[in-house]
């Protein structure tokens, strides 16, 4: 068995831990760091429920080893709201636009939406649909997820959110 010391930034805090080489990033997050926001859905890199942001990219944490993330900068759903509890625009958007039903896919959707809006702050509906193609939702039919991301895009760019919500 091969053990490795990893140090990385997780939601703005430095984390140092010992991991087995074969430990997948999703298991490291959920079981060693108790960050259970990222979910294990399909466990085959299809569904995107385990999506987190690593070094400025959305990644499926079920298909990376924790040791590969060593030295990196990681953001999970737990790091999205402000320290005072104010929701991130995407979280607010999912609430306001009914972007979730069971909520299982939501952490992955929001983390993917986060990177999508960083790269393309003003996406078209098609851009959003193509951009979240690696995240599956079995409840909503995606319509309200798209609206939630549009809501966040409008809010983050300073446009009238009320208009986006209509």
């Amino acid at each position: 068995m091969s053990k490795h010391q990893v140090t990385l930034q997780v939601n703005g805090k430095t984390v140092a831990a010992e991991v087995e080489a074969r430990t997948l990033l999703i298991h490291f997050l959920r079981e060693q760091l108790n960050l259970t926001g990222p979910h294990i859905g399909c466990d085959t890199s299809h569904c995107g429920a385990c999506t987190v942001d690593l070094n400025g990219r959305s990644v499926k944490s079920c298909t990376l080893f924790a040791v590969q993330a060593g030295g990196g900068e990681l953001l999970t759903i737990e790091g999205m709201a402000a320290p005072d509890g104010t929701l991130h625009a995407l979280q607010e958007g999912f609430r306001e636009m009914h972007g979730l039903q069971c909520g299982f896919c939501t952490p992955g959707m929001i983390m993917r939406g986060y990177r999508l809006l960083k790269e393309n702050p003003n996406p078209s509906e098609d851009d959003i649909r193509f951009g979240i193609a690696g995240n599956l939702c079995r409840c909503t039919g995606y319509q309200n997820i798209v609206k939630a991301i549009q809501y966040a895009a409008a809010k983050l760019s300073g446009a009238s959110v009320k208009e986006a919500a209509e």
Partner: protein
């Protein structure tokens, strides 16, 4: 699903990586983006004792022009191919093909080198490398060599790579300015491998096809270079009768397996349909 135990190595240079691969022998696998290998390890269909992670080797990343060629480091990700402005101008087929691969998360991590070196007939880039006439730079402890993409693929997951060797870069001759291109991929859903896919690049002279090359994905044990189909298209205006003949010639060299994507006869037929569509789209884009 948790992979079996293995020892993890993270070399910082090609020299260090090939030394590890040579010393560890056939129990070692190089790890690129890992989006083919890690799922196999989770299913325990692959149980390497050693993984040599190529992710921190700076010298095998990036895209550079060299003479009339573009040389792409093996660890360059699909996402990096998509956003590279220089590539979009000179080799737009790579962007179009990369966008047809998997989904955004996978494209951020999956690499060109992994895609071409894995030997999976479902991967999209090998057929593109065949029809562009690319060459793979291969390193080993005993030295470097170059392998033409057209000589690389020998069977499903079976390539010209020998134990201890790794692909470090992909060298692609830049096609003539004004060429038209298209990658047509029929798939059931995002993230799926192709039911059939065709890549076309062509140039026009006074309305007729002056040069043409055609590649096919996932309709055989290996990617295919459809020479005969391209020969038929060359010199024509791509009238309906010629396109039909070219598509039939492409279908003739396929030998797809029946799978969830459809019976073999259907996938063969779709290879021809993809060729016809790709020819039309490449023609509409050519200057």
């Amino acid at each position: 699903m948790i992979p079996g135990s293995f020892a993890y190595h993270r070399p910082k240079s090609i020299a260090e990586a090939v030394a590890l691969l040579a010393d560890l022998g056939d129990q070692a696998r190089p790890l690129a983006g890992g989006h083919s290998l890690i799922p196999m390890m989770k299913l325990r269909l692959a149980m390497p004792e050693h993984l040599v992670d190529l992710g921190r080797i700076a010298e095998i990343k990036g895209i550079r022009a060299e003479g009339g060629d573009i040389v792409i480091g093996a660890m360059t990700t699909q996402h990096e191919l998509i956003v590279d402005a220089g590539l979009a101008g000179k080799l737009p087929i790579l962007r179009e093909t990369a966008l047809a691969i998997a989904d955004p998360q996978v494209r951020y991590v999956g690499t060109l080198g992994g895609n071409v070196a894995n030997g999976d007939p479902g991967n999209d880039m090998p057929a593109v490398m065949l029809f562009l006439g690319a060459t793979y730079h291969v390193a080993a402890k005993r030295g470097e060599r170059r392998i033409a993409a057209r000589d690389f693929y020998q069977g499903a997951y079976f390539t010209a790579l020998e134990p201890g060797e790794m692909v470090t870069a992909i060298r692609i001759p830049v096609p003539p300015a004004g060429h038209g291109h298209a990658y047509e991929k029929l798939k059931r859903k995002i993230g799926d491998y192709a039911t059939a896919a065709a890549a076309v690049i062509l140039t026009l002279k006074q309305g007729r096809v002056a040069t043409c090359s055609i590649g096919l994905t996932n309709v055989s044990e290996t990617p295919l270079w459809a020479e005969e189909a391209a020969k038929i298209a060359t010199g024509s205006t791509l009238d309906a009768a010629t396109v039909k003949k070219a598509a039939a010639a492409a279908e003739a060299i396929t030998s797809p397996a029946a799978d969830n994507r459809g019976p073999a006869a259907y996938r063969k037929k779709m290879a021809g349909v993809m060729v016809a569509r790709a020819l039309a789209r490449a023609q509409s884009r050519a200057a």
